[in-house]
Subunit: 300 residues, 4 copies
């Protein structure tokens, strides 16, 4: 059977991956309400087609944070690609470059950052950061990604505590084996805990801490995980360069809104006025993933 | 079991047709969201019955583009009837004449136009056109159908690019074998591509090109596939004789609105004022088909 | 298993009745959309309970068309009870009298009217009429039911043409065998047609014909099957004594509104002002039946 | 398999409990419409997460009726814990004390009140009362629970008549065997009736009777089962200390609203102004249970 759509790839993957890997990739937090809402919300989007226009030539290029990409599509940050493919994030980096789009590399990449950069020189890449309690480790990592040519710093704000993923608990997933800790500037010591405590994330980070990150780097800073109009307004006030409206694919806090529902429209309206480009940020993990980071607005 | 409703015919057909033919007939584009919406939207229509009226005699006749039909029902343009019945469009033409309704013959008919006309002389027929990139071929075909007695020219506007029908891709349907290319004024040369590239359709056709078609023929011109109020208003401005509000049975661009949803009501309201007859345009392909071209408004 | 709710009785019946009888009783018209809407609409009704009230004694008696019943509940007119129980409508009549409620006897009863009256003397009964094309037969039947002590004449207005019940067509149900034609004042001659043509119903009856019925009898006249505000207003204007808002259990014209939907609320509001009693008219055929004639308003 | 969520515990329990016990615990009244609405309404609740706030230290303590608890969560009154666990309400009392929350002990507890108090001295407990027709028995019981150190009296108002639980009827549940009648101040004589008549509840109790209860005890009085704005306003007028907005888990009167639907929002809004603390009152019986008593407002 040829693979002609995402659902075909999902079926294909389910047959080939171990249960614990499949559950890690496909599973949402708690009762998976938000993950399922994501899929349903995505299916509810309707296009209003206009006809009798010349579409013999179509140009989808846009500029994002000063760089041109071939279409308003990015690959969202997802960790541990080696779970699904031996070449892991290196394959993803090459695919993104071939498609001419931006690859937002996860801090939880299972390939080293040097390998990711080396395999696809010239590709546009951003780096996604979970803030570590040790400030110096954050500083070292940010300076490293800047020197490696990443073009923006995406700070995830929706993980003050790792989501309650029941399947992982039941499966006792232990992801350290695939995580290259040296990239995180972390020693392996003290990291023998199961997955959901895998890497310490600072639960105390506040809006006021953003100026410290801004002082560290000339990279544009983008906040990922904003879901309320209040936080969107604070993002504008704190001079970040963009936000990613996302519920983390329903994998983080369950029972939060899906795109297009429960006030998320308000967030998008505010941002359309404050940040000037709207785009689709997508990944290949699953259908739910597509909606996970449906719309990003970045300051031009 | 007697066949007492469309669903019975569907089940009957599914048992008798090959998988690739069934999939071609029943399948929608992409995830079939719009096709399924069509069926759901059709089921949501509610009648408000008025009683204690004399219905011992009922007259459903109307006049459409100057011709009387027995009821406000037409047969929508559908290609390749020979896939389902040896006699193909010739049977359809005879059935339409027997019922006293209009048969909108598809450009992708699998019988020759001469045979369709010859088998049911005197029947009311319109002709549906996909615009070919070669203007002269369009001209020859339009002049041919006018001389064969077709009473209107229906130009399909919603296929600048053929819909992404996954089942056809998986089945590798090749429909040329049943397509009588001579009717299209096309040589068979360069047509050995699979179904979805079967016949070139001009992606550059624009509103301004309509005057060229209007200069070619005295037949009334009707645009098929309008889904937005903006395009409906442009149709009025460009002096077409009618439009068919249609999403191509969900077989063309997926994720467009079904009849009665997402602003389609607005289109219908505008047209009720500008075009004076509302009618049902229907076919027999499947239940989804019924909704495919639910309402047509034609200028009297 | 004890039978503790209607669903239990349904399951019990399905096991014991022939397929054609079950289909006749349970089946709706066409695609059964309205029948299914009825069940869904009934499930959506919500009560707003008030507490800390003395309910040690409860009195549910009301007066309907001048007669007191023990609760605002009637048995809706349903034909052919002998299909499900040997004693047929005689059992129903005794049950209604025992419960102190009104039994609206169907013209298509499978017991003779004399037997129904004789088995439960003193019970409150109304008679439901399908208008026959032969006016004299209607007159004879109305005079008969008046002399037998029925207290109101319910004229069904929603059957100018018998509903398209697909299951019956497939099953070729022939109900004449259980129908006592003598009660209808009809000869058996010319009645060898299958069920859905079983008894001629006058398709020409109009609002203006009501005065003829009113001249025939002193019984209050109630119209059954009203679904629009326009018809409800006409009923008030024509001085009928009550209307029954009903979609015939979804067995007559499919795709009409269920109670509480699509403007039926408007009908009820108008009638609450014009007719002074609201009540529930119910039967025991099935769950759908309960909703079939959910609310009746009768002039006091 | 580890038990990581309520659904896991449900499955675990279903395997281990007898059918009649499972049905008693899981079953709702009549068609279970309200029970199912509860689960659906609970799933519809959406959080609006705010990020970039310091959550390294979280304090969820609140004060309820003058007593501090560790989080705004109580254990709702549920009877007959011994059906599911040998130690019954004694285990529940110890768990509530360990969690630092309030345990609302049911009058239908299957352990003696002395044992419940004795097993977890110092725990915060309220007592839930069904009003007995014999006023003196109520008085004795209230004085007993006050002397045993219960801190509030919760009077259930939504059971003027026991709910129509079909499963129990079918199973012929007889719960007296586990009910310690001496705690109710009742003799066993005259109590050999099946479950649903197990204990007489006064159907005549009225708003005016509340002053008698208020004269009996210094405990704050809270009304459980309020569902309408009208009754909430009466509760304020009659000087009760709190109300519990509850539909009895859908186990009492079916077809009443679930939390958040059909005007319940109005009740909550009124109470937010009149009673000053909102909290979640929950139990462990089933998922439906969580919603059963979703929100309580208590006068500070």
């Amino acid at each position: 059977m040829p693979l002609v759509c995402l659902t075909d790839f999902q079926d294909h993957a389910r047959e080939r991956l171990s249960k614990s890997t499949w559950d890690f990739i496909e599973g949402g937090a708690d009762a998976c309400l938000t993950r399922d809402d994501n899929v349903a919300a995505f299916k509810k989007i309707r296009l209003r087609p206009r006809y009798l226009k010349d579409v013999s030539k179509v140009d989808t290029r846009i500029t994002i944070q000063g760089e041109e990409i071939s279409a308003p599509i990015c690959i969202a940050p997802m960790g541990f690609h080696c779970l699904a493919w031996p070449d892991g994030e290196m394959s993803t980096a090459r695919a993104a470059r071939a498609a001419g789009i931006c690859y937002v590399t996860s801090m939880y990449a299972s390939c080293s950052l040097e390998d990711i950069v080396g395999t696809a020189p010239g590709g546009l890449r951003w780096f996604q950061l979970y803030v570590h309690p040790n400030r110096q480790l954050n500083k070292q990592l940010i300076q490293k990604v800047e020197s490696l040519g990443f073009k923006a710093l995406v700070i995830t704000v929706d993980v003050p505590k790792i989501g309650n993923r029941r399947h992982n608990m039941a499966n006792q997933v232990d992801l350290q084996k695939t995580l290259l800790l040296k990239d995180l500037g972390l020693s392996a010591k003290g990291n023998s805990m199961p997955y959901f405590q895998m890497s310490p994330i600072d639960p105390s980070i506040c809006w006021d801490d953003l100026s410290w990150f801004q002082s560290l780097t000339r990279l544009p800073i983008i906040l990922k995980g904003i879901l309320t109009k209040e936080d969107a307004e604070l993002a504008v006030k704190h001079n970040v360069h963009g936000i990613i409206v996302s519920n983390h694919g329903g994998r983080q806090l369950d029972e939060v809104p899906a795109s297009g529902e429960h006030g998320v429209e308000e967030v998008l309206n505010i941002l359309k006025n404050e940040f000037h480009t709207s785009m689709t940020l997508t990944g290949c993990r699953s259908v739910a993933e597509i909606n996970r980071d449906l719309i990003q607005f970045s300051r031009l």
